[in-house]
Subunit: 357 residues, 2 copies
C-alpha cells in the first residue's frame, strides 16, 4: 500500500463524485444522499443509544466516524458526508443548544446585537477539533474510491436557529431582526461567516474532498434580503475558502431559492448547486447548461420513504433528464427517519443500472 498524504491531490484520483467538478458528465451519475447517516438505519440507532445526547455523538470522533461510514458499507455511495449538525457552530460559539428527541433543536435565542457578546468566536477551536478528528478518521477508513464531503450551515440558516430558538415555519424572528436592526444582524452573520470558513477549512485540511453549505431556509427571503443575507456571506465563504484550497469543490444548497437560484449561483461562484425537491426537472437541466455548474438533486425524500414503482419511475426520470449534464444524484432534502433502508438500496440500484443513460 502506498503512503498517501492528504496534501497530495493525487490521493483523490478515482473518486467518481469529483469527476463532474473536473468537467466530466458521468453515466451513471455519482450518488450520495443528504442525511444518509441517520435514524433510518438500525445500526445508527444502536450507536446513538450508546452515545448519550445527540451533540455528544457529534463530538465523539470514534462514534461520529462510525455512523458516517455506516451508509457507505451498506450502500456503497460515491461519497460519505460527515455526520454532524449545522448547529455545532452555534454550540461551539457558546450558545446553549439542546437536541430534544422528537422535537428538534432548542436554543437559548439571541435577539439583539448586545447579546452577541455572549458568543465567543475565539473559543471554537476545541469543539471544531473534535469534528476535524472525525473527518480524519473517516478519511482513513473510507474506501479509496469514496469521496468525503464536509459541510456547514450557511450563516443565514444557522442564524434563523440562533435567533428563533429552533425550527420555525417562517423564520420570522431572524427576518424581523434583519429588518429592525440590519447592522446588528449583520454582525451576527459576519461572525458566522468567519467561523464557518475556519470550520470548512479545518474539514478540508483533515481530508474532506468537497464541502457543502446548507442553506435550508434560503427560501424565506425577498430578493434584496436574499442578496444580503444569503448570497453575500456565502460568496465571502467561497472566496476565502477557495484562496486556501484551490480546486476544492464547494456545493451550495439554498433550499427554496426558487427564482433566486440563478442570482445565487452568479453571485457566489459555487462549483455545485444542490436542487431542492421543488426545482422542476426542466429548470435543473437549464441550470446545468446555462450556469455551467454541477447540479445535484433532487428526489423527494418522502417519495423515497414511500418507495415502489412511482419512486423508481421518478428516480429514472431524474437521471434521464440530467443525462449529459455534470450531475450528481441526490435527494432534494434529507432522508426522513421512516425510510426503509431497502428503498435506499433499490434507489442506488436504479441509478446505477446499466442502460441508465
Amino acid at each position: 500500500m502506498s503512503i498517501v498524504s492528504l496534501d497530495q491531490p493525487e490521493s483523490s484520483a478515482g473518486r467518481r463524485l469529483l469527476e463532474p467538478f473536473k468537467g466530466r458528465a458521468l453515466a451513471p451519475p455519482p450518488i450520495w444522499l443528504m442525511r444518509q447517516a441517520g435514524r433510518y438505519l438500525p445500526e445508527y440507532r444502536e450507536i446513538r443509544a450508546k452515545a448519550g445526547g445527540f451533540l455528544d455523538l457529534c463530538y465523539t470522533p470514534s462514534l461520529a466516524a462510525e455512523v458516517t461510514l455506516q451508509p457507505i458499507r451498506r450502500f456503497g455511495f460515491d461519497a460519505a458526508i460527515l455526520f454532524s449538525d449545522i448547529l455545532v457552530v452555534a454550540d461551539a460559539l457558546g450558545q446553549r443548544v439542546e437536541f430534544v428527541d422528537g422535537e428538534g433543536p432548542k436554543l437559548a435565542p439571541l435577539s439583539s446585537a448586545g447579546e452577541l457578546r455572549q458568543l465567543n468566536p475565539g473559543s471554537v477551536a476545541a469543539k471544531f477539533g473534535l469534528i476535524f478528528e472525525t473527518v480524519a478518521r473517516v478519511r482513513q477508513d473510507l474506501p479509496r474510491e469514496t469521496a468525503l464531503i464536509g459541510f456547514c450551515g450557511a450563516p443565514w440558516t444557522v442564524a434563523t436557529y440562533m435567533v428563533g430558538g429552533g425550527t420555525s415555519v417562517d423564520q420570522a424572528e431572524a427576518r424581523s431582526w434583519a429588518y429592525r436592526d440590519p447592522d446588528g444582524f449583520e454582525s451576527l452573520i459576519a461572525i458566522l461567516a468567519e467561523v464557518s470558513v475556519e470550520y470548512l477549512d479545518g474539514q478540508a485540511r483533515a481530508g474532506s474532498d468537497a464541502v457543502q453549505i446548507f442553506d435550508s431556509w434560503a427560501g424565506s427571503l425577498p430578493d434584496d434580503e436574499f442578496e444580503r443575507w444569503v448570497i453575500a456571506p456565502t460568496a465571502s465563504i467561497v472566496r476565502t475558502l477557495r484562496a486556501r484550497h484551490p480546486g476544492l469543490p464547494v456545493i451550495g444548497f439554498p433550499r427554496g431559492a426558487g427564482h433566486n437560484a440563478q442570482r445565487y449561483l452568479a453571485g457566489t461562484e459555487l462549483d455545485g448547486f444542490g436542487c431542492d425537491t421543488q426545482m422542476p426537472l426542466g429548470a435543473m437541466r437549464r441550470l446545468a447548461q446555462e450556469a455551467r455548474t454541477v447540479v445535484q438533486g433532487n428526489l423527494d425524500p418522502l417519495l423515497l420513504a414511500a418507495g415502489g414503482a412511482r419512486m423508481e419511475a421518478r428516480a429514472r426520470a431524474i437521471v434521464e433528464a440530467m443525462a449529459g449534464a455534470r450531475f450528481i444524484f441526490n435527494l432534494g432534502h434529507g432522508i426522513v427517519p421512516a425510510t426503509p433502508p431497502e428503498n435506499v438500496a433499490r434507489l442506488v440500484e436504479i441509478v446505477r443500472a446499466p442502460g441508465t443513460s
Copy 2:
C-alpha cells in the same frame, strides 16, 4: 340612490380594483392587503373578545361583516376581503377544527381514504350559508367604489391541514399520503375541489367582485406532484366557476411556487397571480408581461411590521418595478399581528402618493 341588483354587472363600475382585470394598468395601483382584517387592529380585538371562539366569529355574519369592514373604514383600501378562514371548508365538511389562541388551528387529522366517509359534502350548506350572508352584508355596507374579494383555500393547502392536523414545516403527512395512496388522496382533493366551487360560487352570488384561491403550501411539492395536486384541482375550480360567472376575476396565490409559477398560470388560466414575498421584482415584471395576467404583491409583511425608511423604499421599488403593468399592490403573505396600524396607513399613503408612477 339607484336600486342596485347584484346581478347587474354595472353595479361594479368604478371599482378600481377591477380595472386591471379589464386590461387597464392603473397609476397608482389599487391596493389591498392579505389578512387586512385581523389581530393587528384594536377594533378587531374588541369584536374578537365578544365573539367567543374564532370559528364563532366566522359564522356570525354581523360580526364577521363588521371586522371585514374595519380596515376599509380605517385605510380606505380598494378592496375588502371577506373575513373568514380557509378551514371553514374542513369544518363545514364535518371535520373537527379548533383554533387555539397562539397555537393556530388543530384538526382531528384524516389519514386514510377510509376516513373520508367521515366527511359529508352534502352538509356544507348550513355553514356556507352563514358565510354567504356575511358577504351580502359586507357588500351592502361597503362603499360603492370598494370591491369585495371572496376566497377559499386551494384543495392542496386545505388538505395539508386536514391530513396533518395543523400547520407544519413541511406538510409531510399530506405529501406522504399522496405518495402512498394517490387514488385515496385524489378522493380527498376531489371532495375539496367540488365543495370549493360551491363555496366560491355562493360568495360570488352573494356579491363578491372577485375571488382568491389561497395555496399557501404550494411550495412543498415537486413538479409532477405540483401538477397533480395544485394545478389540476385549481384548474377544475376555475373552469367550473368561470362557466357560472363569466368575467369574475379569479386570483391564485400559490405561495412558494417558485419555478412552477409559469406552469401554474398556463395550466389554470387564472386571471390574477398573487406573488409571494420571495418572488424577485424582475420575475414579477416578466410574469406580468409574458403571462398576460394581473400580478399582485408582494411586500414582506415583516417589513411592514418593522416600518420606517426601508419599508417605504421597498414599497416604492415595488410600485416602480410594476409601473405600466396590470398590477395590484399587496403583501407577499398575510399581515402579522405585531404590525402597527400606523405602518399600514403610511404604506397606503406611499402607494397612492402622486408621482408614484
